[in-house]
């Protein structure tokens, strides 16, 4: 009844390990790419744009070149709602910091030595890539991932504090991958990774925050949202003249959630905090529902 999230350095076989773990545990496998058709359907954004937002490295100001930041919120929303089902192995970095406070999520990071990763990329590439080019490709992909995660979440994807398990599979051989798999399976079966009322509620809070952010993304994709057992705290910014209008617009968009969402989530009580951009005086608006 637990959840495993797996990330990896490039060409370290994290995806293969995630799929094998799902198969062995009879869990469902999901990654940030195979969920894109569902995201596209629900939010009306083309899959090509969603793919771009996962591939493009955000520029210095945190903006994506082609796709929009809210597309990340849409993907996070469906991933976290997927995780509510439990018995899931999720591979990918989207939503990486969101599950930090959920005790039944086993967070795994896979790394391997450079030599093996170079061999791996040389095996995978159809055109005969030289060792030098393969080495550069591995380094480039690592840097891209690092920049992407830093720009979107302001964290270092390689920071071991983010994970419960960091597994160095050393050489990417069958035995090493199998050992990593065994470690993950034996760990997740440990009592401390079993869900409980508290952790299930934490997961629901995470998913509900994402859902509210997605609903309000067109108004302000940078707003902060925190859900606490149905009380939703929204922190946003606005110029003085537009603050009240923004709050009103937010109220109207959050209520009503559709029937599917009402089934999943708590009854809402919303607190919206608007920081006025000019004089930074805070307006507090309370809405009940």
């Amino acid at each position: 009844m637990s959840i495993i999230t797996i990330t990896d350095s490039s060409y370290s076989n994290g995806r293969q390990i995630a799929k094998s773990a799902a198969k062995r545990l009879n869990y469902e496998y999901v990654d940030s790419e195979n969920i894109l058709p569902l995201v596209s359907k629900e939010f009306g954004v083309s899959e090509s744009k969603l793919v771009r937002v996962l591939k493009d490295t955000p520029s210095n100001v945190g903006m994506f070149s082609k796709a929009k930041p809210e597309h990340i919120i849409f993907i996070e929303t469906l991933i976290t709602e997927y995780l509510l089902k439990n018995n899931i192995v999720y591979y990918g970095v989207v939503g990486l910091p969101l599950n930090q406070k959920v005790s039944h999520v086993l967070k795994v990071h896979i790394i391997a030595n450079l030599e093996s990763r170079i061999k791996n990329i040389m095996k995978l590439k159809l055109d005969n890539i030289s060792q030098d080019k393969a080495s550069k490709a591995v380094t480039k992909e690592d840097e891209q991932l690092k920049k992407w995660v830093e720009a979107v979440y302001n964290i270092d994807v390689a920071d071991p504090n983010l994970y419960d398990l960091v597994i160095n599979i050393g050489h990417i051989k069958g035995d090493d991958v199998e050992d990593a798999l065994e470690t993950i399976i034996s760990t997740v079966e440990h009592k401390k990774y079993q869900p409980m009322t508290y952790s299930l509620r934490c997961m629901k809070n995470v998913a509900m925050s994402c859902r509210v952010r997605a609903i309000l993304a067109d108004i302000d994709p940078k707003m902060q949202v925190k859900s606490d057992e149905g009380t939703i705290y929204i922190y946003t910014k606005a110029v003085k003249k537009k603050a009240q209008v923004k709050v009103l617009e937010m109220k109207q968009k959050v209520f009503p959630m559709d029937s599917k969402q009402q089934e999943i989530y708590f009854k809402c009580f919303i607190l919206i905090f608007v920081e006025e951009i000019k004089n930074e005086r805070k307006i507090r608006d309370i809405v009940t529902g």
């Binding site: 930090q100 406070k101 005790s103 009592k191 990774y193 409980m196 009322t197 508290y198 952790s199 509620r201």
Partner: protein, 128 residues
């Protein structure tokens, strides 16, 4: 098999016992309420309860110590942790040491009842 599920409820906040004790008795459980963890531990050593519901942050003895004591005495007693200071580390420690479940305060009596029902099911009691 006993007719009535026996529960020990331990919380150093009077209001918790005052509120939850009668609510649980009303649905048919036998409930003993304690505010002092030392007295509760003495009672746990005297009598085998089906379920122990305990707070975590208490003076002298904390809820994890209560959990450990219960585990030493009985493999079957289910321990439910209720706390206003829930964290990932605490949740994992509690589960690791054999807690049945953990609920973050504040919660509704119906939520505790639902967890107790699950614990009772796992002990083979019919639903109340």
């Amino acid at each position: 098999m006993k007719e009535k599920l026996e529960i020990l409820l331990l919380d150093d906040e009077t209001i918790v016992g005052n509120r939850l004790g009668p609510a649980l008795e009303k649905v048919g459980y036998g409930v003993e309420v304690f505010e002092d963890p030392v007295k509760a531990l003495n009672r746990i050593h005297e009598k085998e309860f089906d379920i122990v519901v305990t707070d975590i942050m208490m003076a002298e003895v904390n809820g994890i110590q209560v959990l450990e004591e219960v585990r030493k005495k009985s493999d079957t007693t289910k321990v439910i942790i209720i706390t206003g200071y829930a964290t990932v580390a605490l949740a994992r420690e509690a589960m690791d040491k054999g807690a049945f479940d953990m609920i973050a305060k504040p919660f509704k009596p119906s939520e505790l009842h639902s967890v107790i029902t699950k614990a009772a099911d796992s002990l083979g009691y019919k639903k109340l």
